[in-house]
């Protein structure tokens, strides 16, 4: 009896969620503007390689274990992920297709990346330094779940995403333009989008073959093609799903999911200066010769 009542409530809640009608922007887009935290997008595959870059105190190379007085990251860096309570709804997160999370690796490419990971800590050379440590643009996946907020802005013909993480901006054009020429390769790729109901679909190509999916998948190829779906679920939630099609590394596309949860009203984006204070490469490799 009680369980069927709960089931009834769950169904009712789901029905409410489906009938949510977002406000409209001046040019008629469903309005999802505001500050959000991203959650659950970067998930582990089945049988992942061992994480080569353990940031914990146990790793003698991690920042937090350094003996040079720089010390660990201030705790405040880890506290930006607060969000409005989501209620009891479960959202899909991590790798959702295939359901068993066994990624369709081309065996020789899986072997290559496992070998690549072995040379990342300590990094054998510049190529093996993870890009976040180089203050590079993060690509679509490494902007961080939880910690650093994302802000959506919308204006006629564009959805713009401002990342707190490394002051990154994505401009998604909605005006039906084609992708940029194939010789233009970008960390963030070239994004064009359109709305279908309350879902923004974004098609991105022109990646530069450097950006990572996660610490275990340290690069995707320059033939990466992503299709992202941002679906407005309710006033505080945008569901997110990405199809990752990288024919160089994988035999078929796979999908990850996550969600954006609206941040409390007082949340502010602060300056994320990265390269300006970074001694990372000098600490790893020594000082380069004077120019």
């Amino acid at each position: 009896m009680r369980s069927s009542l709960i089931l009834g409530l769950v169904i009712a809640a789901a029905a409410v969620a489906q009938t949510y009608t977002p406000p409209r922007t001046a040019d008629g887009q469903p309005d999802m503007q505001g500050m959000y935290s991203r959650n659950g997008v970067v998930g582990l595959e089945a049988n992942p390689p061992e994480n080569p870059i353990d940031p914990s105190d146990k790793n003698p190379l991690s920042v937090s274990a350094r003996g040079d007085g720089l010390g660990p990251y201030p705790k405040i860096f880890q506290e930006g992920g607060s969000r409005i309570r989501q209620g009891r709804q479960q959202r899909r997160t991590g790798i959702v297709d295939p359901p068993d999370k066994k990624l369709p690796w081309r065996p020789e490419e899986d072997a290559k990346r496992r070998d690549f990971l072995l040379h990342m800590n300590p990094p054998a050379d510049l190529r093996h330094v993870e890009l976040n440590a180089r203050c590079a643009l993060p690509g679509l996946f490494q902007g961080e779940d939880g910690n650093n907020p994302y802000q959506f802005l919308q204006r006629a013909g564009e959805v713009v995403i401002l990342y707190d993480y490394n002051h990154t901006t994505r401009v998604i054009h909605l005006d039906g333009r084609p992708h940029v020429g194939k010789n233009i390769r970008l960390f963030m790729g070239d994004s064009v989008g359109h709305w279908e109901g309350n879902t923004l679909t974004v098609d991105t190509t022109n990646f530069n073959g450097r950006v990572a999916y996660s610490r275990e998948i340290p690069y995707l190829s320059d033939r990466l093609h992503t299709i992202e779906r941002f679906t407005i679920v309710d006033a505080n939630t945008v569901d997110y799903e990405v199809t990752i099609d990288d024919p160089v590394l994988f035999t078929k596309p796979w999908k990850v999911a996550g969600y954006f949860a609206r941040s409390p009203k007082e949340t502010q984006s602060l300056e994320f200066a990265c390269a300006e204070g970074s001694q990372t490469l000098v600490n790893i490799f020594g000082k380069p010769p004077e120019r």
Partner: protein, 245 residues
């Protein structure tokens, strides 16, 4: 006579801008813009040299009113600029107003409560709240803390909370952490912004001074900002042969 015609033309431009603003509430600065001058190399009048395009300055009266010690420091900066320029030689965030007139486009994304400006150089980003809020208490920033308001149809942006690390140009013009910048963006016509920035810094200058220049809309069809990942390129060059120890 010429003067009167110029005034009439200015009045017509102003009227066109004002009409547009009236139709939409406030002028819309959204779009991709770029300066077309040599202020990035030197704010002041300068002749050409190898790698230095000549240019008429953008400083009102052409004089930057340095205190004596600061003028000496500027000259030191100039002498060591090839390695010491924070933006061009080290790829650091360029600060304000320098980000505006570097030879790279930037995009303004205007919404009623927030105006964002994203710059192609080093993917620098500014968020300009338009909600009347006070400056953040986070000081020591590279791009400053920006708060915007409307003065009629002019967007006025008050920028403070800077560090003392950025320069105004490749010639070594500099400031302290007491820098306070007031920018004024006025839409002269659909494709031109009249841009002014007043510079105040009592630790370095004897009085406030001002730069002004037009900004041009990038009108190319399908134009968009790309990536100038200065830091990444510099690392590729300097650490190409790493490790060094």
């Amino acid at each position: 006579m010429t003067h009167a015609i110029r005034l009439a033309a200015l009045a017509a431009l102003f009227w066109a801008g004002a009409t547009r603003a009236a139709a939409q509430g406030k002028p819309d600065f959204s779009g991709i813009w770029q300066a077309l001058n040599t202020a990035a190399w030197d704010l002041q009048d300068h002749a050409g040299a190898l790698g230095l395009p000549p240019g008429q300055g953008v400083v009102d009266g052409n004089e930057i009113p340095y205190q004596p010690w600061a003028l000496a420091r500027k000259q030191e900066n100039f002498a060591k600029r090839r390695a010491a320029d924070p933006a061009e030689a080290n790829c650091f965030l360029p600060g304000v107003p320098r980000a505006t007139y570097m030879p790279y486009p930037f995009e303004i994304v205007q919404t009623p409560k927030l105006i964002a400006i994203t710059y192609e150089f080093a993917h620098a980003l500014r968020e300009i709240p338009m909600d009347g809020s006070a400056h953040s208490d986070l000081t020591d920033t590279w791009m400053g803390d920006s708060r915007g308001r409307w003065d009629g149809t002019t967007l006025v942006v008050d920028v403070t909370n800077f560090n003392d690390q950025t320069w105004f140009d490749q010639a070594g013009n500099f400031h302290s952490d007491a820098l306070h910048v007031t920018e004024r963006y006025t839409l002269a016509d659909r494709d031109h912004i009249s841009y002014e920035a007043t510079i105040e810094d009592p630790k370095v200058f004897t009085r406030p001074w001002k730069i002004s220049m037009p900004l041009y809309r990038r009108v190319e069809k399908n134009g968009k900002l790309l990536e100038y990942e200065c830091v990444f390129y510099l690392q590729e060059e300097r650490f190409k042969k790493a490790p060094f120890k």
